[in-house]
């Protein structure tokens, strides 16, 4: 040993492993404009596809005349349903067990629906040609209200389902009904509600919105007729599943299809589904033998692909006079639009909505969800959320507030006395989940202390007195939330997408000179996988994260996985990565034993090396071992050093957090100002604190948008009123609040490194925090429930309806 020998602490720091706020490797390219997104792909002879879309929400397609369009120089093809029908591709299966028109087959069911696909030599000619396609429509009555859709005399929307009384999720009781999904104990819940001392009842609406990543959806499909191979580059959050679906739909053998997700400009659930544009681009490439690009514009994106939420949640919650919750009942009317294209694990048509007992020990509960067809776009995606968890968290956190009003209690205290206690984990919820771990009281106390909750309430009371005395027109709202998520779908025994189990994977190959490449079944859309997964591997195998390349998204090279959404990458692929690293280490131990001429059992792992127990000066680093794996003939051991792991998680993980928003509200203008936003997250083991903080800032900003103004709104005849970024609210740097982040750390007991996932927590937690702040400001004047988004107009109306405008 000499002064140049790094200390153990230095060796740990050099790895840049778990817990390191390592700077992101992706950023070097992105900051120089050298990302490679799908619209950056340019190929010789590439054609451009674009859609003729329906201006009507419900109409019969009487005729389509594309002669003038076809005659335009540069137009190569115009595809309609009639062209796709012989290939049986005019309809396609959805992820939810329904089917969806690829191109209008006889009628259109929502505004913006794809009617014809124009293929031209450049995007301007395609745009011109769209205008030349003449479509004759016969308007039909429009249904945009899911309750009206279930009226006995409501128009029949899905004529293709006429007389079919059973869907993918059981019986349909009406022509516009999709399913009723139920769980929990209905009779016992009713009994508990009937016997309760206090019952609070409320309808909580979580409005329709849209993930709206800055990059829209798109693809380039290229059919190489010489070697029979189809390559599709696209904005896919689940490239391997897309390959399987493409094979099943097209009949092309799966080994002849290569799907590549290049850099993705944000996903947030928008890029999980399979859209008509992908199918049409593939067909057009097969027909023309040329690469075909299709990229949505922003209006297409907001109108046609992947709405989120739209849940009408009718709740009843009961408690003792002291505030101990005794039962929860919830019925949801879920507006799924024209086709049931929700992106959920197959067996869960309402996703994981039944996490709606939240952070509370509720002895008995029931949930029933009715899915309904309307003349709106299909979708129902998990917008930065693990399959309806956001709806569930909003529902329970609003019901808690309403119950607090009913009881005349402080809402923070009501939460505290009902939290699941630390000693109750693993906890069986009344709706069937096993919460793996949690320490809610500690997180809650830390959060309340951090914002000086008592002081805030005192200030609020003072403000109220001043308001009543006419000395101010601004109210103060304190929005509380304690959320519990369920992420990391999921165990193959009950989680699948189109039959594919929701495992995930990692393959690690160590190079002779001690660097490595890892490939995973997931795909980053900004989460920084190339940075953070290398950190997991670094800590497992003792090579610096800087020496590890992480690749995802190419189905020809990456192991099969189910992709990135629902905060599943860290819980599932992250676990596969850690276990794959351990396989490498196990082989490395055998090699080290041979090199050091000791028995394997005489070695111990220390940061980046195997050393002889009791003689740490005798060691072989992972770098030494890697070299030996390729240049030594070791008896009984294959050359090389690589491994692959597929991980089927035994359970979900249950991240949680405590969020508090403090908001000033001007009762005369309806304007608000977020004075403070505190976010405490517990995502278990923290891989990269810098990345976690970034996720919290971004997710909370999405939540801020949703709560305070963002919506997909329709008029009564199904026109989308929020089809551009003029009307669809995305906050700028100017109105976005400042965030304070904090954490506790309760590792998952079943995850190999104890990590739980964090990407979606801030969206799940912040929406109720912002919304509760608005409600809390008006609580003294009798407000119980006012639906989001709380834009200036709606807040102004609250004040007016409560008589505060004098």
């Amino acid at each position: 040993m000499n002064d140049l020998t790094p200390s153990r602490e230095e060796r740990i720091a050099n790895l840049k492993g778990l817990g390191s706020s390592r700077k992101r490797v992706e950023d070097v390219r992105f900051t120089q404009g050298k990302g490679n997104y799908v619209d950056d792909i340019k190929m010789a002879g590439m054609l451009f596809g674009d859609f003729v879309r329906s201006p009507y929400a419900h109409a019969r397609v009487v005729s389509i005349n594309a002669d003038a369009a076809r005659a335009l120089p540069g137009v190569v093809a115009v595809l309609t349903a009639a062209d796709l029908a012989p290939l049986n591709l005019h309809w396609m299966p959805t992820l939810a067990g329904d089917k969806q028109m690829v191109l209008a087959d006889g009628k259109v069911l929502f505004q913006g629906q794809e009617v014809a696909f124009v293929v031209a030599t450049d995007r301007y000619i395609a745009a011109d040609a769209i205008e030349l396609v003449e479509v004759e429509y016969e308007e039909l009555p429009v249904v945009v209200d899911p309750f009206a859709a279930l009226a006995p005399d409501a128009p029949v929307l899905r004529e293709d389902l006429n007389g079919i009384l059973s869907g993918a999720h059981g019986p349909r009781r009406h022509h516009n009904h999709i399913f009723l999904w139920e769980t929990g104990d209905k009779a016992a819940t009713e009994e508990a509600l009937g016997a309760a001392e206090v019952v609070a009842e409320e309808v909580v609406y979580y409005h329709r919105t849209h993930p709206c990543p800055l990059e829209t959806c798109g693809c380039v499909a290229s059919m190489d007729k010489v070697n029979g191979k189809l390559t599709v580059w696209g904005t896919f959050q689940a490239p391997h599943v897309v390959r399987t679906v493409a094979s099943l739909l097209s009949g092309i053998e799966e080994h002849n299809i290569r799907v590549v997700s290049p850099d993705i400009g944000g996903g947030f659930g928008n890029k999980v589904g399979v859209y008509p544009g992908y199918v049409c681009a593939i067909v057009a490439s097969i027909v023309t033998g040329k690469p075909v690009k299709w990229v949505e514009d922003r209006m297409d994106n907001l109108m046609a692909t992947a709405f989120a939420r739209d849940y009408w949640m009718k709740g009843r919650i009961s408690a003792t006079k002291e505030g101990r919750i005794t039962a929860l009942h919830c019925h949801v009317t879920a507006d799924h639009g024209a086709f049931d294209a929700c992106a959920d694990p197959t067996k869960f048509p309402a996703g994981f909505f039944h996490i709606c007992t939240g952070s509370y020990d509720i002895p008995v509960a029931y949930v029933g969800v009715d899915g309904v067809y309307t003349n709106k776009a299909p979708g129902g995606v998990a917008y930065r959320c693990s399959f309806r968890v956001t709806e569930a968290a909003y529902f329970i956190e609003r019901m808690i507030e309403v119950l607090a009003i009913e009881l005349g209690m402080d809402a923070a205290e009501l939460r505290r006395i009902n939290f699941i206690r630390k000693d109750q984990f693993p906890y069986q919820s009344a709706l069937g989940w096993e919460y793996d771990s949690g320490d809610y009281h500690t997180a809650w106390d830390k959060a309340l202390a951090a914002v000086d909750y008592k002081g805030l309430r005192a200030e609020q009371a003072q403000r109220l007195a001043e308001f009543r005395a006419g000395r101010t027109r601004k109210l103060l709202g304190i929005g509380l939330t304690h959320f519990t998520e369920i992420v990391g779908a999921g165990p193959v025994k009950n989680c699948d997408i189109l039959g594919m189990g929701m495992f995930d994977s990692c393959e690690i190959r160590i190079h002779p000179t001690g660097s490595a490449i890892a490939r995973l079944g997931t795909i980053s859309q900004g989460q920084g996988h190339a940075t953070t997964f290398a950190q997991i591997i670094a800590s497992e195998i003792g090579l610096s994260a800087d020496s590890i390349t992480v690749e995802e998204g190419d189905t020809d090279t990456a192991p099969y996985g189910l992709g990135t959404y629902g905060s599943r990458s860290t819980p599932v692929a992250g676990a596969a990565t850690a276990l794959c690293g351990r396989k490498i280490r196990a082989k490395a131990q055998m090699i080290a034993a041979w090199l050091l001429e000791v028995h394997e059992g005489d070695l111990e792992w220390d940061v980046d090396r195997f050393q002889v127990k009791g003689a740490p000066e005798r060691f072989k680093t992972m770098k030494d071992i890697a070299y030996a794996a390729y240049n030594q003939a070791i008896p009984g051991i294959e050359p090389g050093l690589e491994a692959v792991s597929y991980y089927d998680p035994p359970n979900m993980t249950y991240p949680f957090g405590a969020y508090i928003a403090v908001m000033e509200i001007d009762v005369d203008t309806g304007e608000h100002a977020v004075r403070q936003f505190y976010a405490l997250d517990d995502c278990g083991t923290r891989i990269n604190p810098m990345v976690i903080e970034g996720q919290v800032h971004g997710g909370a900003t999405e939540g801020y948008a949703i709560a305070m103004g963002q919506e997909i709104a329709y008029d009564e005849i199904g026109n989308v009123k929020t089809g551009t970024l003029m009307d669809f609210f995305l906050p700028t740097a100017w109105e976005t609040p400042h965030y304070t982040t904090d954490h506790t750390e309760t590792p998952s007991p079943h995850h190999p490194i104890g990590a739980k996932g964090v990407g979606e927590s801030p969206n799940v937690g912040s929406v109720p925090a912002f919304s509760n702040a608005v409600h809390d400001a008006f609580r003294p004047f009798g407000l119980r429930q006012s639906h989001m988004p709380h834009d200036h107009w709606r807040i102004w109306k609250i004040a007016r309806d409560l008589g505060l405008h004098g």
């Binding site: 992101r24 120089q32 301007y124 400009g265 944000g266």
Partner: protein, 163 residues
């Protein structure tokens, strides 16, 4: 299809002569003719700023500028701000302060920040937030973008003071 026009424009110091329909959007000229795919398309309505480039000393949204309007213009895109061997201060501070995630808004964001710091070399946080309000980001919540820009400003000012 309309009649084509001869247009000359200087992009990142290099002069280009092109024949284009006047309706062609500058963003398509840059991305598809000149292969400068740093600026992105996010909305086509001037709201998101992913296509921001510098034109004649002002930030413009290249998705709503016709190439005909750019005839004779001096244009700088993200590709012209720095090079792999000599990154612009903002390119470094955005990474240092985690001012990006998916990277899609980043070229426009940095190009706008570059112009903002010329317009106002010593901005307050509030001035940065206001000056960047034409550029949307869906990932970061802006907090670290603001931090990165303020850090770049103080670094550039310190360097200037030293010189």
């Amino acid at each position: 299809m309309g009649k084509k026009m001869q247009i000359s424009l200087t992009v990142n110091g290099e002069v280009h002569y092109i024949l284009a329909e006047p309706r062609e959007l500058l963003i398509h000229t840059l991305r598809e003719r000149l292969g400068l795919t740093g600026p992105h398309i996010g909305c086509e309505t001037s709201h998101c700023g992913a296509c921001t480039v510098d034109m004649n000393g002002r930030s413009v949204k290249a998705c709503t500028v016709f190439v005909a309007q750019a005839d004779g213009a001096e244009i700088t895109t993200i590709e012209g701000l720095g090079s792999p061997d000599g990154l612009h201060v903002l390119q470094r501070t955005f990474r240092e302060h985690h001012g990006l995630q998916c990277g899609y808004c980043t070229p426009g964001m940095i190009t706008r920040a570059h112009r903002l710091l010329i317009e106002n070399p010593n901005p307050t946080e509030e001035e940065v937030r206001f000056g960047m309000a034409g550029n949307l980001c869906r990932c970061t919540g802006y907090q670290n973008i603001v931090k990165a820009i303020l850090a770049a400003a103080s670094e550039m000012n310190a360097k200037e003071a030293a010189e």
